[in-house]
């Protein structure tokens, strides 16, 4: 279905329709491997993701799904092509502008949690708010609220090494949600968890999607991808399949 959209005329000040949260159009990422050798990690990827969707991006390692995730997460810029996020053309922004977009629009959940080990759960959740200048009191209230939403209201003062894997991932989810981002981007969120805890996190995602959050899940596990409503399969830097599953 995504393939029809890429012929849209690119006009100055063009923005995708309101319901489209993500539009990637002919996205290329080429790496120089030294000398004249170039590797295309992505070669012309296009699709739309609407608000409220729950999408899994699947593919084996080396398929380009990590590169795609980095581009969607505004951690990287494409070599070619365009990327709109929430009505904004973000594919041509500078480092600091991308930092602003990451802060405001994207909530990351990583496989390895990526929490600051020396900081308490509360402080970890406060971090995104620190970087947009939220005053201390409001910051604390919002972080506490976010932790309560993931049922960690009683663990706020704990440091990551005092928490179980599932609890750590829930802290990460709270951190991802604290700034009310338009997109929740999860990279193998259950990869470091046992299956019961993984199930717990996936249930949490279901709840979040039901509450209206847009979720993009990057994974190589079929049963995890099956929790999503739509699966985009990536292979050799291209979209191999794009299907609604539920």
């Amino acid at each position: 279905m995504g393939t029809q959209t890429l012929t849209s005329p690119v006009l100055k000040g063009y923005t995708p329709p309101d319901g489209v949260l993500i539009r990637v159009e002919d996205l290329w990422k080429t790496y120089d491997m030294g000398g004249a050798i170039q590797v295309n990690a992505l070669s012309g990827v296009s699709f739309d993701i609407h608000r409220g969707e729950y999408v899994a991006i699947m593919g084996p390692s080396g398929s380009g799904k990590s590169t795609l995730m980095n581009l969607i997460g505004c951690l990287d810029t494409p070599t070619r092509g365009r990327y709109w996020l929430n009505g904004r053309l973000v594919s041509e922004l500078t480092d600091d502008e991308l930092a602003y977009i990451r802060n405001k629009e994207i909530g990351f959940v990583f496989q390895t949690f990526n929490l600051l080990s020396r900081a308490s759960a509360l402080h970890n959740v406060e971090l995104p708010l620190i970087y947009n200048g939220t005053p201390a009191i409001e910051r604390m209230e919002r972080a506490q609220e976010a932790l309560r939403r993931v049922d960690l209201g009683d663990r706020m003062g704990h440091k990551p090494n005092e928490l179980s894997g599932g609890q750590r991932q829930r802290v990460a989810v709270a951190r991802a949600l604290v700034n009310n981002p338009s997109l929740l981007l999860a990279d193998e969120p259950t990869g470091n968890l046992d299956s019961a805890t993984g199930e717990e996190i996936m249930n949490l995602f279901d709840r979040l999607q039901a509450a209206g959050n847009t979720i993009v899940l990057v994974t190589h596990e079929h049963d995890i991808a099956a929790r999503a409503r739509r699966i985009i399969s990536v292979r050799d830097g291209k979209v191999a399949r794009d299907e609604q599953v539920r």
Binding site: L75, T94, Y100, R102, S117, P128, Y131, G133
Partner: protein, 434 residues
């Protein structure tokens, strides 16, 4: 500042944040991170900061000692010359070595005849006195009933000297003109000599032995205390006439002239200069072959001395600070490498280059500032110890200079590591093992 230059296009393309609010929140966060990092690595931080600590301590101790001596001189030596100037063979503060050599060669001794001459010829002075010196290192020993006392300053004085300086009679009396004229074998002693020879008895009218000659004690001076750690009460004074008779090898004297008031000083100096030049037959183009020294001269000499001490200190402190700064830079570079993953996390959550830059620059500044604080603490302790045996007083300005200098060094040497941290690619940084 490259990070901030991007703010302009940001305005037009994406809604911007309130820069000032972000800055203060991020700066506070950076401060707490810095304090936390210091606490987490106490020993490492201390070793890292050693250079800055030593530099700050050196700076403040030297400033304190000089300040202490300044205070002392302002209190004592400068007061000693209240409207007094001293005619001596040499100018005390020389502008050049050349001049000093010249003075050594051609300046004549000031003699008792000069004193008589000035006393008769000068007009309108308040007091005039003369003294001859036997310094503490060469003076003959004092003896009393088997006790021997070395290193006591022996001077010969005119009776008029009592009243020109700070010296006061504690008990007994000073020499009379008659005793002076007759070269009486009497002495006026300082408190140290009393404590040594007469701990439990009255020294008056006792006879002590000075270099083999008997002298009767007629008076004791009021205690003067210590100047720069040297006791000022270790002296024996005898009439100048007696002094010159006994110590013929030391005919040189200096002459103290006291004016009635400050306004009269210059006038009196000029008069003295004219008289002495005429007496020494100096052609008008030649410079003086004697020295007129006022308290201003003493202060000048003093400032010349402290100036050079200070110049050396600044050089030493600068070297320490640069070394300390480089060590801090090194440890900050290590810290950036160590915390690459953390930087990646922060960047993924929306930290801009300048947020990361700020974090590491502030950390470096706080670290060096802490070194400065330790240095100040150490310096205050050392200054207290020095003050017990010598003199030192920590000026507030030294503390401020020490603290701000060390912090600035930290901020400066933090710039390079912080820039490296700020430029890290978020993906690469996240991929680094924590």
């Amino acid at each position: 500042m490259s990070a901030i230059s991007n703010a302009q296009p940001l305005l037009s393309r994406v809604k911007t944040r309130d820069g000032r609010a972000t800055f203060s929140v991020a700066a506070r966060e950076a401060f707490f991170i810095a304090v936390e990092a210091l606490r987490a690595h106490k020993l490492r931080s201390f070793l890292t900061l050693l250079g800055v600590v030593i530099a700050t301590t050196t700076l403040i101790v030297v400033m304190s000692v000089i300040n202490g001596m300044n205070l002392y001189i302002a209190d004592h030596i400068a007061n000693l010359g209240a409207n007094v100037f001293i005619l001596d063979r040499f100018q005390w503060a020389n502008t050049s070595d050349e001049e000093w050599i010249k003075e050594q060669r051609r300046n004549k001794l000031i003699r008792l005849e000069d004193y008589q001459f000035l006393k008769d010829s000068l007009q309108g002075y308040k007091a005039i006195g003369a003294e001859g010196w036997y310094g503490r290192n060469s003076a003959p020993p004092l003896r009393y009933r088997g006790h021997t006392l070395y290193e006591v300053v022996i001077t010969g004085e005119t009776p008029s000297m009592m009243g020109i300086g700070q010296q006061q009679v504690g008990s007994g009396r000073y020499f009379t003109e008659a005793e002076y004229d007759h070269s009486a074998m009497i002495c006026f002693i300082g408190n140290d000599v009393v404590n040594e020879f007469f701990p439990n008895s009255d020294p008056l009218d006792k006879v002590i032995d000075i270099g083999g000659q008997p002298f009767r004690v007629i008076g004791v001076a009021q205690t003067l205390g210590k100047t720069l750690g040297q006791s000022q009460d270790s002296f024996v004074q005898i009439p100048l006439t007696t002094f010159q008779k006994l110590y013929a090898s030391r005919p040189g004297i200096d002459i103290d002239i006291q004016a009635n008031n400050a306004d009269q000083m210059l006038e009196l100096e000029d008069e003295t200069r004219a008289l002495m030049r005429a007496r020494h037959h100096i052609p008008y183009k030649e410079s003086d072959d004697f020295g007129l020294n006022a308290s201003a001269t003493i202060m000048g000499l003093w400032q010349q001395l402290t100036g050079s001490i200070f110049a050396i200190t600044i050089a030493v402190v600068a070297v320490f600070m640069v070394v300390g700064g480089i060590v801090i830079m090194n440890i900050m570079l290590a810290s950036v490498t160590e915390r690459t993953h953390e930087i990646g996390i922060r960047k993924s959550l929306g930290a801009r280059r300048r947020d990361i830059l700020l974090q590491f620059v502030i950390e470096s500044g706080v670290m060096a500032g802490a070194g400065g604080l330790i240095g100040i603490l150490l310096a205050v302790i050392i200054a207290k110890l020095v003050d017990m045996v010598f003199t030192a007083s920590v000026p507030v300005s030294a503390i401020l200079v020490g603290l701000s200098l060390s912090t600035v060094v930290g901020l400066f040497f933090g710039i390079y590591p912080a820039t490296k941290a700020a430029r890290l690619d978020p993906i690469e940084a996240l991929r680094t093992e924590a």
